[in-house]
Amino acid sequence: MSMEGKKAPRAEARDLCVHFGQRAAGFAKFTGRRAPVVHAVDDVSLEIGPREVVGLVGESGSGKTTLGKALLRLVPVTSGQVLFDGDDVSHSRGDQIRQFRRQAQMIFQDPHASLSPRLTISQLLEEPYRIHRIPEEDRTSVAHLLETVELSSELANKYPHELSGGQARRVGIARALALHPKLLIADEPTAGLDVSAIGNILNLMNDIKDEYGISYLIITHDIGVVEYIADRLAVMYLGNVVEVGPTERVLDDAAHPYTRALLSTVPKPDPRRKDGHAPSLLPGEIPSPKNPPSGCRFHTRCAYSDNGLCRTVMPKQEWVDESHAVYCHRWRTVRG
């Protein structure tokens, strides 16, 4: 995949697979019966450059969160590689993985669920230092962390349940920032927030990026968010990345039929789209990753699928131009 400036990517997935349920667990150990393997992430290659913001979109069940977690080694890698600054960290352990985790952090989807209800905000913010045994003098003060995320220092002695959704989200960001990471993976950073709070969080994320030189992977289903903030956009469907390229190119000139369908269903605050411009509704729902369709995984819902190639052969990466890749047998027809 081409990168601007040919810099080494900050983080990279190479032919990454994450499958769940391969080992028999629980009662199945005795019966010998195996649950079907869930192909959560299958053969995904994706790069995140230094200071780059990559948006990752797709329906629920497409494997976005699992890919994010795999890039941080929070779920075991089945096959393929996870690279960070050029080093293979897919099977690192001990000190090596601790070093890596200092530099790559996650902002979790549900801020209230990811903050321990028994700790105060200041304890929560100091926790990363405790875990990584950072000496006192290298720590950033709680007051400063709160200031960075534009929260009042009065919150330091409060408990998570006393915070609003937007405030809890900020604490999550402050916690991720505590160790000065180089990569932040944000899982649905704006879900469940009011519009005005979304604006604030995105402004904050932008500021932090410039100040700390962080790369982001932003997992979201809100196309408005990626339109606003992402440099590149990757679209996932049922464990596969189906299209990736510069945000504007993918939005304006989507080559994959799934991307097109997804974009057309996004509600826009423009009442004129209601009439005439009916969204091309995708029929049905996303199939189960336990038993993904053969060939191209999208063929069961695709308007362009033919009965031959699409049903039998998994599409390879093809280049629309030097920076815009698509995984579809018929993308030339799709673009017309």
Binding site: S196, E227, P279
Partner: protein, 340 residues
């Protein structure tokens, strides 16, 4: 507009807590005609859900309606006895909630649940075959594949999108005059959301159901509604038909909401954010409730609550549009055309 099916006038609602009464809704006015979809938007805590509970008289024990009328056709729902109201709920006034899984009973098949709803409201007049036919017909209408088989399934056997379809089927089964949908697509993916929205709009138009659609997502509202009402701190601050509201929003709050939506046009520039938060009910400012966050606030805004003006059908609660309010340099606000 056609004859209105629901009409709310001067509605006030307070929540009692100890000796204090917190005004949750104040001076609410709304009207919805047959087949019309009215959108209600606003941030969390602005009273959207209180309003829908008040319409159905499903308030928590400390909630009290202190003033106003809720007319359904010609009947004031606040005047009728609870037993009568109970017959109305579900039959004449239906509701779809945000999370279908908590509104469906996990221990019964959906066929049983659909049957029970019809029995409860149909008295003994419906035969088993009629009930069955109506259930199948409704599931067909909401696009459920193999409806006859699926009647024997339990809620957990359905996906999120299908469950929401079932909720719509149950809600519309008795042909209600009014449907209140409280964030019905918030838990769904955009692709499913689009399916559900077009289904809902189609069915409401077809059946002539007056629909109140509550959402915090202006994008969704733009896709489904005919008219939109913006709420802030328990008041209606603006109400207009869909196009006027999006093309020429008048209230500073509505403008800020629309401007804070992230999109590619705003790439590279900072998103407009509304400073501060919705005031809590215990600390509402005395004049205009938006005064602490409004870029145009003046003394008059702090002193008196604005009237709910009617500017050629476009209604707004802001002193800047009221020549008798004493608002200075109103031109600054009125000339602040949206989209600049």
């Amino acid at each position: 507009m056609t004859e209105s099916v629901v009409k709310v006038r001067d509605l006030d609602l307070v929540y009692q807590s100890g000796n204090e009464a917190f005004p949750a809704l104040s001076d609410i006015e709304l009207e919805v005609g047959a087949g019309e979809v009215l959108g209600i938007v606003g941030e969390s805590g602005c009273g959207k859900s209180s309003l829908s509970s008040a319409l159905l008289r499903l308030l928590p024990p400390n909630g009290r309606i202190t003033r106003g009328h809720v007319f359904y056709k010609d009947l004031d729902l606040l005047e009728i006895p609870e037993t009568r109201m109970r017959q109305f709920r579900g039959a004449e006034l239906a509701m779809i909630f945000q999370d279908p899984l908590t509104s469906l009973n996990p221990t019964f098949t959906i066929g049983t649940q659909m049957r029970d709803v019809q029995r409860a409201h149909g008295g003994g007049s419906l035969s088993r075959a009629q009930i069955y036919r109506r259930s199948v017909e409704m599931l067909e209408q909401v696009g459920m594949p193999d409806p006859e088989d699926r009647l024997r399934s339990y809620p957990h056997e359905f996906s999120g999108g299908m469950r929401q379809r079932i909720m719509i089927a149950v809600a519309l089964m008795l042909k209600p005059g009014v449907l209140i949908a409280d964030e019905p697509t918030t838990a769904l993916d955009v692709t499913l959301q689009a399916q559900i929205l077009s289904l809902l709009r189609g069915l409401c138009k077809e059946e002539g159901t007056a629909t109140i659609f509550i959402s915090h997502d202006l994008g969704v509202v733009a896709q489904i509604c005919d008219r939109v009402m913006v709420m802030y701190a328990g008041r209606v601050v603006e109400s207009a038909d869909l196009f006027s509201l999006f093309d020429e929003p008048l209230h500073p709050y509505t403008r800020a909401l629309l401007r804070s939506i992230p999109s590619r046009n705003r790439r590279g520039s900072r998103l407009v954010s509304i400073p501060g938060r919705v005031p809590s009910l215990s600390a509402l400012p005395s004049g205009c409730k938006f005064v602490n966050r409004c870029p145009h606030a003046q003394d008059v805004c702090r002193a008196t609550e604005p009237r709910f003006l009617d500017i050629q059908g476009h209604r707004v609660r802001c002193h800047a549009y009221d020549s008798s309010s004493g608002f200075r340099d109103a031109g600054v606000v009125t000339a602040d055309r949206f989209g600049d």
